[in-house]
């Protein structure tokens, strides 16, 4: 057991992956001497060399596109996209090559690459540094999308992602990089694609992922002060979603609120609602509600608190699903 921040846990997880397999390499902007703008790769170039920790030219399609070639050659590249808002230049490579080459080659090519993206808001940043692009990738067949929310998850999930043979979009909730937590260096807490009940409760199920999990837990704490028992599920795997524990929870509570920073329209939150209303048709006692970023471009961060699903908004939704039948 060790106490460390999520950024450090990722760093340690990457280090271990690099040690475990000489085919693992890292590629991205400023990940070498600088250690990445969040220092997640701090010290790795010094220890593993410039051939494995590759400071790339400034072009995201290039980062992903060359990583595809490295994967074809048998490497296991881990790409770093500096911020969420900068992954879009790589979108074509991700959607047309990364997601499809395994299938196009009848399984001959392993697209065993991980694309790390610090994502989401809550850090008071300027434009393009607080985006939630996970929905685009969740919608794309051929990809998987995961997001750790604790240092322990971060340490293990990055290693699990790197050893997995499918391409994985690894969304790191950057607002939690600096938060400390216990890391068990010996045993992973659970599988890479397993959802996790972050807080138990009986009245309402709140499903969240990434940066919203912390907000959801805080809202649950606030709700408990008002005598409401809110269960919070951390989806962890955004695609595929791990529905069985979610179904179990909704069958227990009969009420569902889904929380995500991304705008709701045609999103992961829509998927959670669509699927759970189908699977829990007779259990749901109120319409499932979504609490998400509004349907606008991410605003100047001075108002991000109001734009994002904050505690008030979650509590309001909890009130509404609780009050529905009364």
């Amino acid at each position: 057991m060790a106490q460390m921040t999520m950024a450090k846990a990722l760093n340690e997880g990457l280090r271990r992956a690099l040690e475990d397999n000489p085919k693992v390499l890292l590629m991205g902007e400023d990940i070498g001497k600088l250690g990445g703008v969040f220092r997640v790769t701090d010290g790795l170039q010094k220890d593993f060399g410039e051939d494995r920790i590759i400071d790339s030219p400034l072009a995201e399609s290039g980062i992903v596109g060359t990583s595809v070639g490295l994967a074809i050659r048998g490497y296991r590249p881990v790409c770093e996209i500096q911020f969420d808002g900068f992954v879009y230049p790589a979108f074509d490579q991700i959607v047309s090559q990364v997601a499809k080459l395994h299938s196009r080659s009848h399984g001959v090519y392993k697209m065993a690459l991980v694309i790390r993206i610090p994502f989401g808001g809550q850090i008071g940043a300027i434009e393009h540094h607080s985006e939630s692009p996970e929905g685009y990738f969740a919608h794309t067949a051929g990809l998987r999308v995961v997001s750790p929310t604790t240092p322990n998850d971060a340490y293990w999930m990055i290693q699990q992602a790197i050893t997995h043979d499918d391409p994985i979009i690894f969304c790191e909730p950057k607002c939690r990089y600096w938060e400390k937590g216990e890391v068990d260096l010996d045993r992973p807490p659970r599988g890479l694609f397993d959802a996790h009940v972050a807080r138990e409760g009986t009245d309402v199920t709140v499903i969240a992922y990434g940066p919203s999990v912390r907000t959801a837990v805080r809202a649950a704490e606030a709700a408990s002060a008002e005598g409401r028992s809110v269960e919070v599920i951390d989806a962890r795997s955004i695609a595929p979603l791990d529905f069985p524990p979610m179904v179990a929870s909704v069958q227990k509570t009969g009420r569902l609120v889904v929380v995500a920073e991304a705008p709701a329209n045609a999103s992961v939150a829509s998927e959670v609602v669509a699927r759970l209303t189908e699977e829990c048709f007779y259990s749901l006692r109120a319409p499932a509600l979504r609490v998400t970023g509004y349907h606008t471009p991410y605003p100047p961060s001075r108002v991000e608190e109001e734009y994002l699903p904050n505690i008030d908004r979650i509590l309001d939704a909890v009130d509404r699903v609780m009050g529905f039948e009364s």
Binding site: G62, R73, Q93, R104, S105, D166
Partner: protein
């Protein structure tokens, strides 16, 4: 074409000319072999066109006019090299030893690939223009990291040089001295658009600005293409870094069988290029210089016809895939939505056998 430097070793009339930097290293048999290759791929290409006309293929992208570019380049490859094609590189596939019916699986719409890319060291075709350029550079960076003496070669068209991805590939190749050869077949057209829409200056010059050499070769001269490619591949294998080869050629036919070139180009232009036919000039040279008798060419034609007949047979025998196969390689590992889809399809009574 005249003022721009271009490597040529064989004139359109089949005369051997000298070049200050390149000399042909090929003997009669090898040149005859290349003529044979070119004859065969042209014949197979024509067969594919007629298969498409008869409704047996969804589409076909003919290579007619580009045989010298592809065979000259393809025969310069060594077995350990790895190649990344677009959708028109049937000649390269031929040189890599891929059975012709496999090239047609994509065009019969029964497959997105068609062959095992690792077995033949020839990647699956790329249709999204330019995507493969970055993939190839990445592959070459892998070769570099392995310390292997292998070259990577990537093929694309004149149109592709405008895509961001291709230019990023140039950036990467220059920055990392990747052991790669960019081979652009400038066939003068990107569907209906002439090359000048992409660039007002010759495409080989694009490389200069990225810090590595570019060279234009007469793409209808199989000897010249061969020498230029051989040297660039050797350069890459020896750690000399990237080269951009512009094979200056012409797409004699339509862009694909869906295209109607009469809408955008005039017959007179095509006529000009007929006189530069890549097969005729080698044949003239072989006849004049090496006294190859007509019977040998006839034998090649017969061989090509036989291969074409075999191709037709193979294509007609090609079944649609089992619908359930769509679930097979979507993911490497189990995935709940794949399992669900399979279950649904089976419940609907679809799939489970050949269709």
């Amino acid at each position: 074409m005249s003022e721009i430097p271009l490597v040529q070793l064989l004139t359109p009339e089949g005369e051997r000319v000298t070049h200050p930097e390149y000399e042909s290293t090929l003997g009669k048999d090898e040149i005859f072999g290349m003529h044979r290759d070119m004859t065969i791929i042209r014949r197979l290409c024509n067969e594919a066109t007629s298969l498409q006309r008869q409704g047996q293929l969804a589409l076909w992208a003919p290579l007619q006019g580009q045989e010298a570019a592809q065979i000259g380049a393809g025969r310069a490859l060594q077995p350990m090299d790895f190649t990344f094609p677009s959708y028109r590189e049937h000649g390269i596939a031929w040189c890599r030893g891929i059975p012709p019916e496999k090239w047609l699986r994509l065009f019969r719409a029964v497959d997105h690939g068609g062959w095992d890319p690792q077995q033949y060291r020839h990647s699956v075709p790329t249709i999204v223009i330019g995507n493969q350029a970055l993939n190839a550079v990445g592959y070459a960076m892998g070769v570099q990291r392995d310390g292997a003496e292998e070259a990577t070669m990537v093929f694309f068209g004149d149109g592709a040089t405008s895509e961001g991805d291709v230019n990023e590939a140039f950036v990467w190749a220059g920055s990392f001295d990747a052991p790669i050869v960019f081979f652009v077949q400038n066939n003068q057209w990107a569907i209906s658009e002439p090359t000048v829409r992409q660039s007002k200056i010759p495409l080989y010059r694009r490389a200069e600005g990225f810090g590595f050499p570019g060279i234009r070769v007469d793409g209808n001269d199989v000897l010249a293409v061969h020498e230029v490619t051989k040297r660039a591949l050797a350069h890459a294998r020896e750690g000399g870094g990237p080269t951009l080869i512009e094979a200056f050629t012409y797409r004699m036919g339509a862009h694909t069988t869906s295209d109607d070139p009469t809408r955008y180009r005039i017959d007179a232009d095509v006529e000009v290029w007929k006189h530069r036919d890549p097969l005729e000039r080698v044949k003239a040279y072989l006849v004049r210089q090496h006294q190859v008798p007509a019977s040998e060419f006839d034998a090649t034609s017969a061989e090509a016809d036989a291969l074409a007949a075999k191709l037709r047979e193979d294509v007609l025998a090609m079944d649609s895939p089992d619908p359930l196969s769509i679930f097979e390689y979507a993911y490497a590992d189990v995935h709940p939505l794949i399992e669900e889809g399979k279950r649904d399809m089976i419940e609907l009574g679809v799939g489970g056998g050949a269709h």
